[in-house]
Point group: C2
Amino acid sequence: MSNNANITQVDKETNITIAGAGPVGALLAVVLGRRGYKVKLYESRPDSREHDVYQGKSINIALSDRGWLALESVGIADKIRETAIPMRKRVMHGVDGTLTEQVYGVKDQAIWSVSRSGINEQLLDLAEQESSVDLFFNKRLTHIDFVSGCASFSKGKHHIEVDADYVFGADGAYSKVRRLAQETSRFSYSQSYMPQCYIELTIPANENESGDARFKMEKEALHIWPRKDFMLIALPNPDGTFTCTLFLNYEGEVSFNTLKKRGSVTAFFNDYFSDAMTLLENPVDEFMAKTANPLFLVNVDPWVINQKVALIGDAAHAMVPFYGQGMNCGFEDCRELAELIDSHQHDWKKIFPAYQAQRKINADAITELAKRNFVEMSEHAGDKLFLLRKKIEAKFHQIHPELWVPLYSMVTFCPNLPYSQALKIGEHQQEIMNQIMQVPNIENCWQDDFIYQKLQQLVEFHFKDELTARGDK
Amino acid sequence: MSNNANITQVDKETNITIAGAGPVGALLAVVLGRRGYKVKLYESRPDSREHDVYQGKSINIALSDRGWLALESVGIADKIRETAIPMRKRVMHGVDGTLTEQVYGVKDQAIWSVSRSGINEQLLDLAEQESSVDLFFNKRLTHIDFVSGCASFSKGKHHIEVDADYVFGADGAYSKVRRLAQETSRFSYSQSYMPQCYIELTIPANENESGDARFKMEKEALHIWPRKDFMLIALPNPDGTFTCTLFLNYEGEVSFNTLKKRGSVTAFFNDYFSDAMTLLENPVDEFMAKTANPLFLVNVDPWVINQKVALIGDAAHAMVPFYGQGMNCGFEDCRELAELIDSHQHDWKKIFPAYQAQRKINADAITELAKRNFVEMSEHAGDKLFLLRKKIEAKFHQIHPELWVPLYSMVTFCPNLPYSQALKIGEHQQEIMNQIMQVPNIENCWQDDFIYQKLQQLVEFHFKDELTARGDK
């Protein structure tokens, strides 16, 4: 079943239990199954391929190059791309309805709107094709023996115990494996709530239309209504609808806590999102009917307990959605784990420490970047000087692509650059751009040659070690 | 029973459940009982006054002025002082056995070695004298309804449900209340393990001696063997013994993980603690028989859930023991809560938010200071330039007590200065002392007048706002 010549097979029977059959758990099952492991994949919910557990809601997420690279490594990227919609730019919607655009990358670079349930189901199908992978739904994890690797699952009053050599917790942001791991010794853990919560809203398709005419706004874009302390975003779906997410403070002056009455909610949408109001389907009813979902980050250490039980994906590093990297990072966990299995020849005494060392530092970096990005999306995206800064960066990137790749592009379009390095380089870049933005009259002279000469000098000074190292290669 | 004229009585029947009858839970029961609340105090362990749950181990802790102030507020300070031993200085034991001293404060200032179980039992006796306080032992908390305030406790197969208006979790570093609170919405939480673990060792008393001659080392001192990555400390007990604590890394070159064989443990003690080796009771046997205890910090937000359930003491802010402030901070929680109850006239809608706002910032500050202090105790305490720095600070404090109180003294001997302010002032002081220590030939000129003139100038510059504000009062 493999499309990768480097895949190695484990040479003795080794059982692995995976808790959680979301996108990351399913991909992990494929990766391990293809390497000869006997995998049992358990999920507490019903099989969404047989039961509509999503109640018709199409929740989409942004897939970018790190995710694609992982999907390519198991040969399913092309199939998923068939229903993915490229988003080539941000379209910012001002309070007065004016639109501003910002392309994400160069040429064909884009991030992709994909259906979370669709990608999950395609990966489950792929896992099921592996003879050594078995799937079990409606089984809720109740206990793990972190020494023996025995995991207990329940369905109603029935309990089963599952022995395994290794256990993976791929059970998401609210991971039960992680909660159980908190009882083990020396397990450092944090969960931090953001001030914002979110609800999902819908922009329906144009009726009686077909093709791209079904879309009420530009299709191949991520739409943002940046309003500083809150924002609305919209991602396109193949059926012509947009799934929108409203991010708003939990408490405070304008917040889910204060917006309780129909009149004030209507005024809120009319005041801040007047152009969206004409597109959204019953936003006021939806707002009043829905419970705001919290946003939180998780940090754990270690990721691997007793060389026996490991966390992966959101279970290890739940982050906020503001960089669109949550699932991409989880997929990257799987891809790099697969490479470690091959390079360490199935020696888990080496694989686990390398996995922890290699992945945690990068998950920490993207978690931090995602947290910072709320300000960029909600506040700066509507700010003229910020947009100018991005334009200068983009122009310099065009002139000297070897000297400057914008941070967003490093994270999104450079899947072989670790997140932690992107973060570090990005911080240097910010210092440099702070200096450039202080050039007098920058609004008018930003296209002049001397700006880019100065940028080049600053880069060569800031990054001299890196540039030397690159030259040495 | 009150010795405080400002105490106010609640005017309608109000029930409060306290989980945890350690020193903080017991003091809280006294504070609430005296204000007319119907208090039920539950403890999972047996009553140590009837059963020796400590198995003869005398664990002592350092009590300082914040703790005394809280104990005075309930009129029990004098009684506890009867068996407390003042520690007026640090005595540092070098690798070669040479001793260096550093006094903690001025005049009679001292920190006090007290028995943890002794102080706990005296507070339980005091709580029991309140007619509105009931104590229950051997009852393990199993569940809390965070909306109704109903708490469930079990003893073996027997379960009881206890209704209350309010619930306090005073159940320590491993708090069950806090663990249950993690399941409530928007509860931010972190537990961070330190690289060090600890075990307790004992220096026995001299046999056939009486009075102070029973002590094998200077009695009225806290003894430290600072060895950079690890350290041993010893606090005196009234029976002539010292309780020692060895802090050592969990893993790494010299660590609990690598010291597994008798030979290497013996060599470790001989190499690093040769003078203590002649005093300690079977340190090698003890080291090999004992399991290393972890050290961790806890940070939670909020401290109060649904205006119904609140955390207090270690349950809210477990910290590392390197500033000797853990119990002092918990006692201060109780004292300030009592003041808030009186000033807000039993209006818990005001008391709880004020308690959270006032205490969390200060607990965060002392948690941070305690973490930093490991380096001061284990590394700097043996460092000549560090000791010189402390001498200069002490001398300046003597000349200008109104301009400079060393950080340690602010934390330990200024119970009305919030921890958060001590931390902030301490950071300014560090910057100032960094400049002073750069004066050429400081080792020889440190007693000269110009040093203290320079210090005065720096203080007046750094603290000009604070000094002006102080002058305005």
